[in-house]
């Protein structure tokens, strides 16, 4: 079961909207597919990200994967813990493994994302 208060992309990112702040990370399904995460490359605060465009990279021992932004906005905070402890993406993907917080430009973008049931259906189909 994925958290019910989040919205999801078909590329396995999640977003939590609180006021005009959107917190972004990857799902437990994504973390499991990646394997042991050893490096996360994220944009600095002040940069802007565009919905469905790449905003960073997550690397496991074996694979390199692009990260896609669920929503557009200016980066207001970056999870600096991940620089030293990238394994948080595996151990707590919906919590301490969050990646960036952005100031949400267009709240309407969230409506186009998958709800928890829709996302679970996606991963169940593989």
């Amino acid at each position: 079961m994925v958290p019910g208060d989040l919205r999801y992309t078909k590329d396995h990112e999640w977003v939590r909207v609180e006021g005009d702040t959107a917190t972004i990370g990857v799902t437990d399904f994504a973390a499991g597919q990646l394997g042991d995460v050893v490096f996360v490359d994220l944009p600095a605060a002040g940069k802007t990200v565009e919905q469905f465009a790449t905003f960073g990279v997550v690397e496991s021992v074996k694979a390199v994967s692009d990260l896609y932004a669920p929503v557009s906005g200016e980066v207001v905070e970056v999870n600096s813990e991940l620089a030293g402890n990238p394994e948080l993406v595996n151990s707590d993907p919906f919590g301490a493994g969050w990646m960036i917080k952005v100031r949400l430009g267009d709240a309407g973008q969230v409506d186009g994302l998958l709800d928890p049931a829709g996302y679970e259906q996606l991963t169940a189909e593989g």
Binding site: T9, D11, H12, E13, V26, A30, Q33, L34, G35, D36, V38, F39, D41, V57, V58, E59, S60, V61, K62, A63, V64, S65, D66, L67, Y68, G126
Partner: protein, 381 residues
């Protein structure tokens, strides 16, 4: 997030070879991928955990995808000496050597281990993806000699146990005297009641053994080793950790460090080539020229000091200008930093040289370091 590196099992093409152990891997929860035409486990519990198991305890590998070619006949030694860059005639019975088969231009067709099983009986082990090519090429090179090649690849299961506790786990299961079995030696005996060739060879930088048995009996040997090793913490290990282990140990992987466009001297393996051996061999003229003039590129170790992980195919820069390419790169589980092997221009290959790797269009600082990155503590032998 999209992931493009590993195909899922469902998306695999048809007609992949499966080892006799494939159902055991599935039962252990392995993720299976295509490798060299085979459906193989890439990981079980996770690459980092499996890597650590091999460095600290021991790991169990299914290597049944490797090619096993038996060459025998009155001229077997002479024929192999003419076909390969090494001189297998110098091997004592029961010993092994690292070797290569090259094209007439010196380009590497495959790297091999040659075991001398008897006076005129040799076992040549080739990489899975090259096994058919090597089998055909070697058979062609044997023509005219009193020697025949018997391709046993699909009749052989190969199970390896690698890591500091390998010997203590294997010893109670075998009548082979492991204390007398030296590094790069092979002996015949039984393992868990199964007739086997037991070799003290591997691809991890640790002590360990490779066990060749009849195809159908691979599962018995695997299960016996896993059960016997439970107390010692033996873990099944997939191709993912096999790759990080060999990279830390500075060992080349065919398709990355070695290919048809690369000769043994480029790869820093000129010592393997026996130019002075008796009789001609395929590639001699080309390799003698490289030995005299020096190779055009140099294989180096890189320790990434900037932020990023170098990967296969990334450009290597010297003062902003291209000087080579990364052949293998990962985050080193043992050292905790990104490491890579790369081909660079010979004049920037000295340890201590500061270069850069282009990671997603950004230069990331890297230092040339001696290979291997990791060497086991000799007191563990």
């Amino acid at each position: 997030m999209t992931e493009a590196v590993e195909p899922t099992e469902e998306a695999l093409p048809e007609q992949l070879h499966e080892t006799a152990l494939v159902d055991i891997h599935r039962g252990l929860g392995a993720r299976l991928i295509e490798f060299g035409g085979w459906l193989m486990p890439v990981q079980y519990a996770g690459i980092l955990e499996e890597h650590r198991a091999v460095r600290e305890r021991a790991g169990l590998f299914d290597l049944s995808h490797m090619g096993e070619l038996v060459v025998e006949g009155d001229d077997a030694g002479d024929a192999l000496a003419a076909a390969l860059v090494t001189d297998p005639r110098t091997l004592a019975v029961g010993r092994a050597q690292y070797s290569m088969i090259v094209a007439p231009d010196g380009g590497v067709i495959d790297d091999l281990i040659v075991y001398r099983l008897g006076p005129e009986r040799f076992l040549v082990v080739a990489n899975a993806g090259n096994a058919a090519v090597v089998s055909d090429e070697l058979a062609a090179r044997l023509s005219g000699w009193r020697a025949v090649l018997d391709d046993q690849s699909l009749a052989t299961s190969l199970v390896a146990i690698q890591g500091p506790r390998s010997a203590e786990v294997l010893a109670p299961l075998t009548d082979v005297d492991l204390t007398a079995l030296r590094y790069y030696a092979i002996a015949e005996g039984n393992v868990a009641g199964v007739p086997a060739h037991v070799a003290r060879t591997g691809y991890t930088g640790e002590d360990g053994f490779e066990i060749f048995v009849d195809w159908a009996r691979g599962p018995e040997v695997w299960e016996a080793l896993l059960a016997a090793g439970r107390e010692a913490g033996v873990a099944p290990v997939g191709l993912g950790a096999r790759d990080t282990l060999r990279l830390e140990a500075g060992m080349p992987l065919y398709g990355n460090e070695l290919d048809r466009q690369t000769n043994p001297f480029d790869a820093g393996l000129g010592r393997v080539v026996k130019l002075e051996k008796q009789g001609d061999f395929v590639g001699r003229e080309a390799l003698a020229r490289v030995a005299k003039d020096g190779p055009a590129k140099r294989l180096v170790g890189l320790r990434i000091t900037g932020r990023g992980i170098a990967r296969h195919g990334y450009p290597v820069l010297d003062d902003g200008e291209p000087t080579g390419v990364v052949t293998s790169g990962t985050h080193s589980p043992t050292l905790g930093v990104p490491i890579a092997m790369a081909y660079v221009a010979p004049d920037v290959g000295e340890p201590g040289t500061i270069l850069a790797v282009e990671v997603r269009e950004q230069p990331v600082s890297a230092e040339v370091v001696p290979l291997p990155f990791y060497k086991r503590d000799p007191s563990t032998r």
